[in-house]
């Protein structure tokens, strides 16, 4: 019988070993997959027991904090609507959105999987997530918010040298402090306050001309050649119109006066291959590496970066009509790229992440995303943008003591609606420290509706720089 006992013992041991393999499968191999299962409420439940870390601006101003009163926790947003929908919300009832959702791993302290941390977790009973310090400067944010308040649109300010996002405003916004109470009202409010308009698609209008410029340069066209703008021209049977006849213009003047016919004619001359290549170099059709999702900008409805463009659509695309769609955020990045000698830095919102022991566990580093232009090309566009401020359509964006480089846009949204007002700018032109993109939806002309907001933000930013030194 001893033999029988041994055999049974073997069967038992093998079964237990097999069982252990099951544990390996669930706890080691499949642990991440299981966490992503939508029915898994782990992250939401952890929320209840972890004190969510705070979100602060670059100077330490609290943007979102969890306040503890006895046993109850409350998430408060001291800046009210100013930072929404950028910050978003984290609600047990309605889920989470914005940075509260995108930064959840950091804020809940889930991304620190070091062995030390795991062992600490087993004994350390008070649990607090990490604090996140953003690159946003709340003073700029406030200025941009005040300028845009009451309208619909977006303001994005970026430090062109390192990709730090300094301000990111979207209007209309909401107050996350009363989200659960006002949920229905917020949902029904006009203009989609929960949606971040900085990441939504709009036609760029004349802003596109800075991008088309790159194609012109690369086609070997002489920028000093002059062209007679008669107010309209016909390309392949399609009438391209300008608001007025600009007369004889070279490239700088064409950009300064925002001459549609110049860019259509010269763009078509350069050819679609060079145009599409230039557009791709600026990041069309690519996902922007960023903490929040930004939909890739696109040239046509069907394809973000088509291989072939129908000639009439191509002509319209050169000055940002047709089917071109871009987000204010991407436009701000392109502006920053022109300011930074053609190099677009990877944008980021997180400056650093600090754990409960005040140690920095993550710090963002400047990183190149795309080289959209050569230094020479960037200089050429800049000189056109300077002329636009000094003598052209962008003059409402001029500052008394600082040279601003800017470009306006008034994009036709389709139908008979008022145009979207665009304004992009960077300053100081010889040593750019800030690049701004402003969109006022259905705001009319870029110079009229959008320029004052960009101007105020630049003024605020540079006043701060002076004060700092």
């Amino acid at each position: 019988m001893t033999g029988g006992i041994r055999k049974i013992a073997l069967i038992m041991v093998f079964s237990f070993v097999f069982l252990s393999l099951g544990l390996v499968y669930w706890q080691v191999v499949n642990a991440d997959t299981m966490l992503e299962n939508p029915a898994n409420r782990r992250t939401i439940l952890l929320e209840k027991r972890i004190i969510r870390g705070g979100i602060y601006d670059v100077n330490g101003v609290a943007l979102a904090e969890t306040r503890i009163d006895g046993t109850s926790k409350e998430r408060v947003y001291p800046q009210g609507e100013t930072f929404q929908p950028l910050l978003g919300y984290a609600s047990l009832e309605y889920g989470s959105a914005g940075l509260e959702a995108a930064l959840a791993e950091n804020l809940l302290g889930l991304n620190d999987n070091s062995l030390v941390r795991e062992v600490q977790d087993s004994f350390d009973l008070e649990r607090r997530g990490n604090d996140v310090i953003l690159t946003i400067d709340s003073r700029l944010q406030k200025t941009a918010y005040d300028g845009l308040k009451g309208k619909a649109g977006a303001v994005v300010a970026i430090d062109p040298r390192n990709g730090d996002v300094l301000a990111l405003v979207s209007q209309p916004s909401f107050d996350a402090n009363t989200l659960e109470k006002d949920w229905e009202a917020i949902l029904n409010k006009a203009g989609s306050p929960l949606l971040n308009h900085a990441f939504s698609h709009f036609p760029p209008g004349s802003i596109m001309k800075v991008i088309t410029s790159a194609a012109l340069f690369r086609a070997g066209q002489d920028m000093t050649d002059i062209y007679n703008c008669e107010g309209s021209t016909i390309i392949n049977g399609q009438i391209i119109q300008d608001g007025q006849a600009h007369g004889w213009v070279n490239y700088d003047l064409a950009l300064a006066y925002s001459c549609n016919t110049y860019f259509a004619v010269h763009g078509i001359d350069a050819g679609q291959d060079i145009f599409l290549q230039a557009v791709s170099g600026f990041g069309f059709g690519r996902e922007i590496p960023f903490e929040l999702y930004v939909p890739p900008s696109s040239i046509t409805k069907d394809e973000s970066l088509p291989a072939n463009l129908e000639i009439n659509l191509f002509a319209e695309s050169t000055f940002g009509q047709g089917q071109v769609m871009i987000s204010p955020f991407h436009i701000a990045l392109i502006t920053a790229g022109i300011a930074n000698k053609g190099e677009i830095m990877t944008p980021h919102l997180i400056d650093r992440v600090i754990n409960t022991k005040q140690n920095i566990i993550y710090e963002s580093q400047p990183e190149l995303w795309l080289t959209a232009l050569s230094t020479d090309e960037a200089e050429k566009i800049k000189s056109g943008m300077i002329l636009a401020v000094n003598e052209g359509t962008a003059s409402p964006g001029a500052l008394p003591e600082i040279q601003v480089a800017a470009k306006t846009g008034s994009a036709e949204p389709g139908g008979n609606k008022t145009t979207h007002a665009w304004f992009i700018a960077f300053a100081p032109a010889d040593d750019p420290q800030i690049a701004v993109a402003v969109l006022v939806e259905h705001g009319g002309s870029g110079g009229g509706a959008a320029a004052p907001i960009a101007k105020a933000v630049i003024e605020k930013a540079l006043e701060r720089k002076v004060g700092d030194s």
Binding site: I8, A9, M34, R42
Partner: protein
């Protein structure tokens, strides 16, 4: 003596550290300090009783089971303090039952004298349950006496084991050789195998009628493994296969909830918030534990899984002390089962051998079925994890079984030395 005190203190340290963590975490009330103190005292008194009465059996078996009990108690405090209070009482009763059986039972061999009585007792207990039982969560397996519910099927485990051990002890040779020739195989005749099969069929039939399918599976595997072990004939394992297929198919088509269980087992994610909820939550908890666990008191399984204190206690453990802790628990069960086989091999008589190994098989099968269930390796059948799950009947019965095992171990080492000195002594 020193060694066994040390082992017990180590084990009790788990209880006190766990209790300490939970108390700091405000998850355990102060009453548990007294509960744990009473339990610890009883354990330490046990050491002295063992010493003074000259316990001479396996010294590892009890400390290992004690560790399992203690881990179970800590997690019960964490999951449901009210139930943990009950469980402490049952654990204390279990300890006393263990020592009662170990030292009170003069000679386990006497248990072998009543073979058919045990068989009948097993049937009677089950029939009574079927008549007077209360249906809880679909299974009619408990009887209420006053405010205390009891699950007779746990007691049936003892009765059935005793029946099988004594029966096989007597009929071993006939079963082994066989008297009827069927083709290449020689099978035992009706009179030899009959009673074993008849009692087995009745037990399984009644359990199926009660819808205690998990317990039925445990008993079935127990009977098959024991007869295979005793006879060492592969044919008995082979013969069980068609039984599994037929009864499995029958069960599948007869019982709606069996079909549901199987469907859920095959794909719990289709309906993870409905029928698959239990197993999905169990797997979320287990996988959330990863290697080192979330830490005691930090898991979500204790709140999310239905029945975390009984069927799914292992999922909570695997979550909060991770793969490392879960493997430790599995290892403890492997040690208990292997020690039972070791006791069996050393036992001086065949009845003791079969009984000891039977206890090992029972515990192993129970642990495997429920652990494989919560890890989705088998369809889930709710049975308690021995010594860990909440439940007085299970705790008491498994402590009695452990007592029997220790008694066999004690008596065999004893007898070997007696044989050497050439004298025969009664007990102790």
């Amino acid at each position: 003596m020193l060694n066994s005190i040390l082992l017990r203190i180590l084990t009790l340290a788990i209880l006190w550290i766990g209790l300490g963590v939970l108390t700091i975490d405000n998850m355990a009330g102060n009453q548990f300090i007294w509960q744990a103190a009473a339990f610890s005292l009883l354990v330490l008194i046990g050491v002295f009783i063992e010493f003074f009465l000259g316990y001479d059996g396996d010294t590892n078996l009890f400390p290992v089971v004690l560790t399992i009990i203690v881990i179970g108690l800590v997690f019960l405090i964490r999951i449901n303090p009210a139930m943990a209070v009950d469980q402490f009482i049952w654990a204390n009763i279990g300890l006393m039952a263990y020592y009662g059986v170990l030292f009170g039972l003069r000679d386990y061999k006497k248990l072998g004298q009543y073979q058919y009585l045990w068989g009948l007792a097993a049937l009677l207990l089950l029939v009574l349950t079927l008549i007077f039982g209360v249906t809880i969560y679909g299974a009619t397996n408990s009887i209420r006496v006053g405010s205390i519910g009891f699950q007779p099927e746990e007691l049936v485990k003892i009765a059935l084991l005793l029946f099988m051990a004594s029966y096989l002890d007597i009929n071993k040779e006939l079963l082994r050789i066989g008297t009827v020739q069927v083709g290449r195989f020689s099978l035992p005749d009706k009179r030899t195998l009959g009673p074993y099969i008849i009692i087995g069929m009745f037990v399984l039939g009644i359990l199926a009628a009660q819808k205690s399918l998990g317990t039925a599976l445990v008993f079935f595997l127990l009977m098959v493994f024991i007869i295979y072990m005793v006879t060492e004939r592969f044919i008995y394992l082979l013969m069980s296969l068609p039984v599994i297929v037929v009864s499995g198919t029958l069960g599948y088509f007869l019982f709606g909830h069996v079909r549901v269980r199987v469907a859920i087992w095959l794909d719990p994610w289709i309906d993870a918030t409905g029928g698959g909820y239990q197993i999905a939550q169990s797997l979320f908890a287990i996988s959330g534990g990863r290697i080192l666990g979330t830490g005691l008191g930090n898991g979500i399984g204790a709140y999310q899984i239905p029945f975390p204190e009984t069927d799914f206690i292992f999922a909570v453990i695997a979550e909060e002390i991770g793969f490392v802790g879960a493997m430790a628990v599995i290892s403890l069960f492997i040690i208990v089962v292997m020690r039972a086989f070791a006791v069996s091999i050393k036992a001086v008589d065949r009845f003791g051998q079969i009984l000891a190994a039977g206890i090992g098989i029972l515990i192993g099968v129970e642990a495997l079925i429920i652990l494989a269930g919560v890890t989705k390796m088998l369809p889930l059948t709710g049975i308690p994890l021995p010594w860990m799950s909440y439940g007085g009947s299970s705790m008491l019965v498994h402590c009695i079984l452990l007592g029997i095992l220790a008694n066999i171990s004690h008596n065999s080492s004893f007898s070997i030395s007696d044989i050497q000195v050439g004298k025969r002594v009664g007990v102790l």
